[in-house]
């Protein structure tokens, strides 16, 4: 039932090299230089260690710097002298040093960098683990991470050869791509003459497709992420899953034989599959009856361990399934999905709006309510002014006035907007669009530029045929297209774009789509006339999601790969989902 890869599917490059590189560097930093023996988690409390030197391994955030500074200052007050070392990962920012300086501890602290930017979460998934990328770039217009992205791409091309075909869409993609190219030029010669291992690279900004990221996920891996939150490729299953009083940390990747078969499945299939699997397992166990001693010995030494392992995994996933079923098969969830589908297809808008209103009134969940509002706004090119006001009022009444700022954020990011009366640009928008056409503005993403954009989802949906016409029931067991990741209701826009571009080997013929995406100047194709690329490598595609990607998108593309004989590799700034996106935009009281 889990689809095997086509026999001609290319082999994936070995990404464990990245891990080894990073590990060696860290060991070097810690042991050789500073003789670290114990690690503590950075929390906002005094360090209990009595060591003579403290070493902090942190992300370059101002908050962290403040924490380090307060620790150092506390030590100073207490008359303690220690050595302090801050190791920034993946890189050091000047602003961080500024903070240390302003807090008067710059002289006491020495700094280092650990250039670890790519964590292989799975055989085909690399994560930069930078969840803040989304807010920093798409809300605050802060471009600091672009350099990090370019460095990461540079690292990949030094390790795995140059990429003969490059495509991208979105301002951030374009900037990262250009910066990356510049890096390559500066260190000319390193990648020259290397055989490309990966034939294509596709860069995509998250704001090109917010819709997909905002939908409820129904593919197993996505659902697990939505329900239990997968962190760094592992998940904490609580007592309700393990049916014991302890929670269990489980690594979710291709190593897990059970999981790898169900991760890309629509949830409705998973339970059936698991019970079938359980029966098979039982049958295998049962074989030992009627074995003679020798056979039994064989069985115990060779198969039993595997079976036990499988057994354990199976029970974990069955537990997770049950827990999800309990939560999701309730009527609310069905209705929620129904509303989402209605929004995607664009009918019964009134009904959906009042559903959302009720959702808010009942204080179901601040994040969920927000997500539905955003989905409504994007699919409808903004809310009509009346709804815009009333929904916001209701929301503030339900969840507190600080969300006034959340709305301001969402508006800035273009996630929740008001329909402009007619098509005329408002004063702000014309000012912004002037900025955008400015020469210097070729490099900017002022957050305001998103104001000028309309999502045009409906038109895009028609153009790219995102809502499959269904004759009769969509068979989720034998999916026909990528829409299966949303129960056959919607083909993820991001994945469709990638499919189309790969088919054409460029953006040619997609001009209208690009225009509708407000990416007039920001879609690019770059092909090097490289005939060294093997046909195998040309079927390997690295997809880079700037601002995060969801497991549904990963599943959809894995499906596409199987259909077309490609293998996709995913590089994302972080794995995300609707809740994470909304949380990034929310203002909460500290």
């Amino acid at each position: 039932m889990a689809f095997p890869h086509r026999p001609d599917a290319p082999e994936l490059p070995d990404f464990s090299m990245l891990k080894r590189l990073a590990r060696d560097q860290l060991i070097y930093l810690l042991e050789q230089q500073h003789e670290v023996d114990k690690l503590y988690k950075v929390e906002n409390k005094p360090a209990l260690s009595s060591n003579e030197q403290l070493c902090f391994l942190v992300r370059p955030r101002i908050k962290n710097m403040r924490y380090v500074a307060s620790l150092v200052n506390a030590d100073k007050l207490a008359g303690r002298t220690r050595k302090y070392k801050v190791i920034f990962s993946p890189q050091k920012f000047h602003a961080c040093e500024m903070v240390l300086e302003e807090e008067g501890v710059f002289g006491d602290v020495s700094c280092d960098e650990w250039a670890f930017s790519l964590l292989p979460l799975d055989v085909d998934l690399l994560s930069m683990e930078l969840p803040e990328f989304f807010r920093d770039y798409f809300l605050e217009g802060d471009q600091r991470w672009i350099n990090t992205v370019a460095q990461a791409l540079h690292l990949l091309s030094t390790l795995y050869g140059p990429f003969p075909n490059c495509y991208g869409i979105g301002r951030c993609s374009k900037m990262s791509y250009e910066l990356w190219r510049k890096l390559e030029e500066e260190e000319d010669g390193e990648t020259k003459g290397r055989r490309p291992e990966i034939g294509h690279i596709f860069l995509l900004d998250r704001d090109v497709d917010f819709v997909t990221a905002l939908c409820s996920q129904v593919v197993y891996e996505g659902l697990v992420d939505d329900t239990f939150r997968i962190k760094c490729g592992s998940v904490d299953f609580g007592p309700e899953v393990t049916s014991s009083d302890r929670s269990l940390k489980v690594l979710l990747n291709a190593e897990d034989k059970v999981f790898s078969e169900i991760r890309n499945e629509h949830f409705s299939n998973v339970f059936g599959f698991l019970s079938q699997k359980a029966r098979n397992l039982q049958a295998q166990y049962d074989r030992r009856r009627g074995m003679d001693i020798k056979q039994m010995k064989n069985f115990v030494s060779q198969e039993l361990k595997g079976l036990k392992q499988e057994h354990r995994l199976l029970s974990v996933h069955i537990g997770a399934c049950e827990s999800i079923m309990k939560k999701k098969t309730k009527q609310d969830f069905q209705e929620l999905i129904k509303t989402e589908h209605a929004l995607l297809e664009g009918f019964n808008i009134r009904e959906s709006t009042s559903y959302i209103e009720e959702h808010i009134d009942r204080q179901v969940s601040p994040i969920e309510s927000l997500r539905l509002m955003c989905l409504l706004s994007i699919t409808e090119n903004g809310l009509i002014p009346k709804d815009y006001r009333s929904l916001k009022t209701q929301y503030l009444q339900s969840y507190g006035p600080e969300h006034l700022l959340t709305f301001s954020n969402l508006r800035r990011a273009g996630l929740l907007t008001e329909q402009a009366p007619g098509d005329t640009l408002t004063a702000v928008e014309s000012k912004v669009s002037k900025l955008v056409t400015d020469k210097a503005a070729g490099k900017i993403t002022d957050a305001f530029s998103s104001l000028a954009k309309k999502s045009n989802f409906r038109a895009l949906s028609k153009k790219l045929n995102l809502i499959p016409r269904v004759d009769g029931e969509y068979d989720l067991k034998v999916p026909r297209d990528m829409a299966y990741v949303f129960s056959g209701a919607y083909v993820p826009l991001s994945c469709r774009l990638i499919e189309q571009v790969l088919e054409r080997r460029s953006w040619q013929g997609l001009d209208e789509v690009v225009r509708l995406l407000n990416c007039g100047e920001l879609a690019f194709t770059d092909m090097t006339k490289e005939d060294k690329a093997s046909s195998e490598s040309l079927r390997l595609i690295l997809v880079v999601f700037l601002g995060g990607c969801t497991f549904s998108e990963i599943s959809a593309l894995r499906f596409l790969g199987r259909e077309k004989g490609y293998r996709f590799i995913f590089l994302t700034t972080a794995v995300t989902n609707s809740a994470r996106l909304m949380e990034a935009m929310s203002e909460v009281k500290a």
């Binding site: 920012f93 903070v99 802060d142 500066e186 009134d361 900017i444």
Partner: protein, 795 residues
Amino acid sequence: MDCYTANWNPLGDSAFYRKYELYSMDWDLKEELRDCLVAAAPYGGPIALLRNPWRKEKAASVRPVLEIYSASGLPLASLLWKSGPVVSLGWSAEEELLCVQEDGVVLVYGLHGDFRRHFSMGNEVLQNRVLDARIFHTEFGSGVAILTGAHRFTLSANVGDLKLRRMPEVPGLQSAPSCWTALCQDRVAHILLAVGPDLYLLDHAACSAVTPPGLAPGVSSFLQMAVSFTYRHLALFTDTGYIWMGTASLKEKLCEFNCNIRAPPKQMVWCSRPRSKERAVVVAWERRLMVVGDAPESIQFVLDEDSYLVPELDGVRIFSRSTHEFLHEVPVASEEIFKIASMAPGALLLEAQKEYEKESQKADEYLREIQELGQLTQAVQQCIEAAGHEHRPDMQKSLLRAASFGKCFLDRFPPDSFVRMCQDLRVLNAIRDYHIGIPLTYSQYKQLTIQVLLDRLVLRRLYPLAIQICEYLRLPEVQGVSRILAHWACYKVQQKDVSDEDVARAINQKLGDTPGVSYSDIAARAYGCGRTELAIKLLEYEPRSGEQVPLLLKMKRSKLALSKAIESGDTDLVFTVLLHLKNELNRGDFFMTLRNQPMALSLYRQFCKHQELETLKDLYNQDDNHQELGSFHVRASYAAEERIEGRVAALQTAADAFYKAKNEFAAKATEDQMRLLRLQRRLEDELGGRFVDLSLHDTVTTLVLGGHSKRAEQLARDFRIPDKRLWWLKLTALADLEDWEELEKFSKSKKSPIGYLPFVEICMKQHNKYEAKKYASRVGPEQKVKALLLVGCVS
């Protein structure tokens, strides 16, 4: 060839010394050498002359001229000496001319007479004047040692990193020592001086008397002393005409020689080489030159004219008005080959090759002879080595030809040594050329390294030759051609008579985008020469915009720097420029600059959000960004303010800002929140419990849960809570209270705006089937089935 060894002079049994001409000098000297202060740099370096008018009694009415020549006598610079009296001249290891003035100030000049810098040797020296000075070379660089009028010594071991050391006093020293020298042992500089019959060694701490072992008796004074190039050996010339030679540590005597001349020599220097067979000292008097070693006989030369000796690593250079000669011990390989009647393999090979050219069968005989002894490899090596030591190209060629001939009969002779020697000789011949005038020997060249040699060519502005050498030797571009081009460009920008455009274009034409050339370095040089415009033009060629920024900042082109930093995509760089700008500009201008650079603005805003909230507010104010200003105050109302009054005030400011931003909705919402806050405060006062910071919904719920229905109703009316919400709210709250009676009353208060299905649902959530059933009956027909299913009445 028979007379090839004619200029060889044997010294003792084992060694030969030879003297050959390097150049015939046609430097039109106006003065006699003896009237001048002379300094010649080692390693075939330049010669500086300064006519010394201060030595004579007559008043210095005419200003002397400082002249600098190449070793071949080509004038490099000539300038009028305008400073004070000079006591001593000397060259540093970087070929900078150090001129020690009487007042202890040392002036530093470049090879082309360009003034570099000056430094003083200290107050003590200034007061007591400089009596004598020496410039010496150490591992660290070049040092200066000074003998003051008070007969004290002051020295600095490295003029690049000036640390003055005053040496301890020599007890009982009343007059100037008869001779003295600086010497380096164990990386420490010492002074050795002779006073009458006594020798003293001065180090930082102490002055100790020393005696050379085995010194002949009867010495009442030392007239001259000489330390070898490597500071390993020392020679002393006594008033008895004795020359004592030994190690510089004064622990061992090598030999002594009585020359029977009591007149003090003009100069005495060591002439030896690494692995010398017979070390010798060269002593020069007015008309006589004597080479003295461990042999009963010395070698004597007659000096036709006033000469000057320059000690080198492997010999002595001797120049005079008309010639420039080199005196050295004949290297082993040359000696073996050319010694009369030598049967060394190299000599035979050379012979064989000559016969071969004459097409004589003797060639074969010689070759056989070598081969029978199995010495062909050695022979080839000898010829190659000897070629290196020959000054004349024809001799080099004939030796190399012999080597090449011999190589043919060898199976596996690695070619590199031959090839390298050919290359090295080409380089050496090129730089020895009269026009270049760097007479390096092969050993000196190897000691100096090609890198330093290139530096020296660059220093002489011989860029084309340097580049040719790089290309010929195929040096990596970054070390070779690029570096030289960069130097050339740095020199080019100093040509003030050429316009900025022309210079920039010329530089770009030559350099193009040669890897490893940093346009920003060249621009920095241009800026250093005061050519800011040129610097900016050059920066335009710099491909890495990041590299342009620091210089632009230095040139106070901060705004340009900002846009370059933004172009580079490096946020750190942008940030650096921002901080710079912030300090440089007044606040208003700074904000204006930010306004035109959205990327920088958002970066700075991010920083302010965490670190400088007040600045953030000012930023918004400056921009008339009332929307953000409103948001700012809203945030402040719960993040920064504690008291209700403060919070309400913050909200009021926010509301005003929102009005200005024409955001009626936000303004109204903010005003509502002010109202709610006040009210919540009142509720807390009157009813107790916590209300502040609850949302409106939660406030009403809390009231209902607390049984204050009236209050709740009032609040709902005041804040115009829609009916639907109120119904949901009450329904949930009452069910939570399990106040079924009140719930029923409520359900009957009027027709439910949310229908009755929610009632069923909520009751079932509380597991109250009984109550649920009551409402199920009231559910409208279209939802009835759902309701019944919920209650569990499948039938």
